[in-house]
Amino acid sequence: MTPTVATPIRTGPLARPWVRFGARRLGRLLVSLWVLVTASFAMIHLIPGDPVRGALGPTAPAELVAARRQALGLDDPILTQYLHYLKGLVTGDLGTSLSSRLPVSDVVAQRLPATLALAVLAFLAAVVVAIPLGVAMGVLTRRGHGRRTELAFTTTSIIVATIPDFLIGVALVYVFGVRLGWLPVAGDDTAAAYVLPVFSLAIGPAAILARIVRVEMVGVLDADFVRTARAKRLPARTVYLGHALPNAVTAALTLSGLLLGAMVAGTVLVENVFAWPGLGSTIVQSILTKDYPVVQAIVLVYGVGVLVVNTVVDVALARLDPRSLIRED
């Protein structure tokens, strides 16, 4: 049961767990990226019928359709198109919007900051609220304490987490926009305009996160090493925040990665509630007007965002919990 031989002290860069971890993680990221890029390329080819005919409508003259197909390179062999697409991605050429005739990269560059600001602020808000709340709840409901508090908190957080962000958005628009008139309900022109979108996006993930932190906290507070920390007679604050929290937060961190990913996508709906000038309102418009190059690019941007977030979370996780470096070996 107990290993008697200590892990040897490794030397040399290749023997380091960090190096192996990095290589493995990078490999997974590259494979995922390739799948994403291929899927976004395939998307336009999976659409039944002629996407250009679909975009231009049944009344468009045949010559125009043919010319547009030519311009998009849709008549080339599929492999040529794929290589062309990859080459475009590497050089930052995402094609041209069918409706506005602008380079897609310009559209993305113009719309991305608003979405990014919304997602990041909402994520920070969720974390800033959820971790202290979860820790406090964990301490209050640790083994043998606060069963009523636990029931109330768990029930509330499940319900709050279930309500989709866009419905929260609609309710907020009604209460603070229509009834009270306190806050703007559209656009991103003022700081006040951020309040409602950020809130509607953050509240669900905050509830989920707080729940996980609480459960982890309760588990960790029962662990032997917390008893050791108490045996060292450290102040309660140090026991909870210095010893319990770092161990409770690893699961929360894994989850928060998924949540941030979900938030990136959640912006799509919330942006449409609040007429937010970001990628989310653009992709919906582009899907409706069948502006496929824009849709392709935005799907790609969201996907890359999610992958980057997941990778960052994994690295952060490895820093917080060094055992995860070797766990996958």
């Binding site: 045996a231 959640g266 997941n310």
Partner: protein, 632 residues
């Protein structure tokens, strides 16, 4: 299984969710029948009206009654959501079972693909598929269904893998049963329950996602309408008639919550049992005695009438029932006994670590003259933190896995001795070296998982040496270690004791270890000390029948190995049902009527205390019976 599911409606949340779910399903069936015609009546004289007696939720831009439309939309919303879930479940099951059915290579490929797909949020996948399948109800059903598939596939895969590893599947395989047959006969029935629960939750999510897609204008298209579409139409007019947006919003929310919470309640019901509660317990301990007699100055630990009460299934139980002892400077006292005799709880109680797990009462509980029953203050923490060291049983779990070993030692010094981080870190390295950890400088920067078990236990002792301990309490410090390492740890404890005149309380179920290391041995049975004698007397002069049985159970070089090893017949008494008389009477060869009626007190002789009516009487011939039950 049915009973477990029906238990769900006994919780308020579960009942509410179940009622909501049934109501939504009923509305889906009846809504269009009852209000179908009313919902399509166009009244151009009354468009975008506020709620009124005639139209409870007002009217839309064609003068149609919004409430009726919301009620009618239930059917389409629910049907589309269920269709999407069906697609997700079927696709998920196919993908999830593939690694089990297909060969190893194909299986790995499928699970890798699922893992990649799971990383992307459902809405993003739904948008992707919505583009591929086109805008509209059909496209949306396919999109939401396929977007839900990877998560379901992953769940299935995990569950299948769990069941596939079990013996009965292996047995079926060895018997030559085909994989497909194993899947249907053995695997799927065993994972059906969690799959159904998750499908229920997914139905709620699909309902909400569908509303989302329709709300974006990518789902149901006019003239059909589901809740999301009504919301899409209503939000534009929210300033004119808020009810047009709020009514469908509320409907989809209630329906989604119903399915979701019903699933969650079932999951919780099936997954998590409720443990015994730690309710407040009656205070029955004797009142603290006044300090009449002065404690001799060389007494490090002074314990009188110690009782520990913990919650049990049928009310509070008392695993430690009045323990009195003293430990002098430099003395090594062993506490032995079978598991459940209260020795570990005694150790936790005298070190103030029982915490939330129970109540500690004593008429006196002092460390170096400081009352340990006093409230927790920084001063008291400082005294305890530096003068009392604790070594726990399992070095694997007693270090914080997320922090470096050196740092965990150093914080004792920064907190209690006012050292700077730098000085504390140096002291930690010094202490690690003191407990014979080679290369202490490097080791201090490592994490606990990089240490071996024995090394970790030595580091734990080193942690106790950060201060200047007067007492080390070691609770089964060698039990989790290999035999070869055990001796190292015991030697280390002995060396520390000799060097600094540190007192040691060693808790063990191993009589041989205690006899070798300690000066004095206290034998505990059913929460009491039954004998307290010099370790040297253990072999020949033990007077309590239990002590003698423990000693006899230890094999030595002269043990006749052709005979079965000696054991103590019967089992230890559970703390919940301690009999009225001597707790050992049921297992004792000397027991008589008095033993069963009256509990013998511990005699007052300070050199050799014993609690037995028949102390020292000759034992009848040894009888063999059950195994001696040892501590884990």
């Amino acid at each position: 299984m049915r009973r477990r599911w029906s238990g769900v409606i006994r919780t308020p949340l579960g009942l509410t969710a179940a009622v909501l779910t049934v109501a939504v399903l009923a509305l889906a069936v009846l809504g269009p029948v009852l209000w179908g015609t009313g919902a399509d009546v166009i009244d151009t004289d009354d468009i975008l009206a506020q709620p009124s007696a005639g139209h409870w939720a007002g009217t839309d831009n064609l003068g149609r009654d919004i409430l009726f439309r919301v009620l009618v939309a239930a059917r389409l919303s629910v049907v589309l959501a269920l269709l999407a879930v069906a697609i997700a479940v079927v696709a998920g099951l196919l993908l999830g079972c593939a690694p089990f059915l297909a060969g190893r290579r194909l299986g790995r490929l499928v699970s890798a693909a699922v893992n990649i797909a799971v990383a992307f949020p459902g809405l993003l996948l739904a948008l992707f598929f919505a583009v591929v399948f086109g805008v509209g109800a059909t496209g949306a059903v396919l999109a939401i269904g396929l977007a839900g598939a990877p998560a379901f596939a992953r769940l299935t895969q995990t569950l299948v893998a769990g069941v596939a590893a079990r013996d009965f599947v292996a047995a079926a395989r060895v018997a030559g049963v085909g994989r497909l047959r194993i899947l249907f006969r053995h695997v799927l029935p065993n994972i059906a329950e969690p799959l159904v629960v998750n499908a229920t939750i997914s139905a709620g999510n699909a309902l909400l996602s569908f509303a989302g897609l329709s709300f974006l204008g990518l789902g149901v298209q006019s003239p059909s309408y589901d809740w999301g579409r009504l919301l899409y139409d209503g939000i534009g007019a929210i300033y004119v008639n808020p009810a047009a947006a709020l009514a469908p919003g509320a409907a989809v929310l209630l329906a989604g919550l119903g399915f979701n919470l019903f699933g969650e309640s079932v999951a919780k019901r099936l997954g998590i049992g409720t443990g015994p509660s730690v309710a407040p317990m009656a205070r029955t301990a004797p009142a603290p005695e006044a300090h009449t007699e002065a404690t001799p100055t060389d007494v490090v630990l002074d314990v009188r009438d110690l009782e520990v009460t913990v919650p049990g299934e049928a009310g509070p139980v008392r695993p430690v029932r009045g323990v009195t002892f003293q430990v002098r400077r430099g003395e090594a006292v062993g506490i032995v006994g079978e598991s459940g005799c209260g020795k570990s709880l005694t150790a936790l109680a005298v070190t103030c670590l029982v915490g939330d797990h129970g109540r500690v009462d004593a008429t006196r509980l002092e460390l170096l003259g400081h009352d340990l029953r006093a409230p927790d203050t920084a001063v008291r923490r400082g005294i305890l933190g530096t003068s009392l060291a604790m070594v726990f049983q399992d070095p694997m779990t007693s270090f914080n896995p997320a922090r470096r070993v050196g740092g965990q030692l150093a914080e004792v010094a920064t907190h209690h001795q006012g050292m700077t981080r730098r000085a504390a870190a140096d002291r930690a390295v010094d202490r690690l070296a003191a407990v014979r950890i080679p290369d202490a400088d490097t080791r201090a920067r490592q994490y606990p998982h990089e240490f071996s078990g024995g090394m970790r236990q030595r580091a734990m002792i080193g942690m106790g040496l950060m201060g200047t301990p007067a007492l080390i309490v070691a609770d089964e410090p060698t039990t989790a270690l290999d035999v070869t390492v055990q001796q190292q740890v015991l030697d280390l404890l002995a060396a520390i004791r000799a060097a600094d005149d540190v007192a040691l309380v060693l808790i063990s179920h191993d009589v041989a270890v205690v006899r070798d290391v300690c000066d004095r041995v206290m034998v505990m049975y059913a929460g009491r000390i039954v004998e307290d004698l010099p370790a040297a007397d253990l072999a020949d002069s033990a007077r309590h029948p239990y002590t003698r049985a423990l000693v006899d159970a230890v094999p030595d070089m002269t043990t006749d190995l052709s005979q079965p090893l000696a054991t103590i017949p019967g089992r230890p008494v559970a703390p919940a049902d301690v009999p009225p008389g001597c707790a050992y009477a049921a297992r004792c060869p000397l027991a008589d009527a008095r033993c069963r009626a009256e509990d013998p007190p511990l005699t007052a002789d300070p050199d050799h205390r014993v609690a037995c009516w028949h102390a020292g009487e000759p034992l009848p011939d040894r009888q063999s019976a059950d195994q001696l039950v040892e501590s884990p």
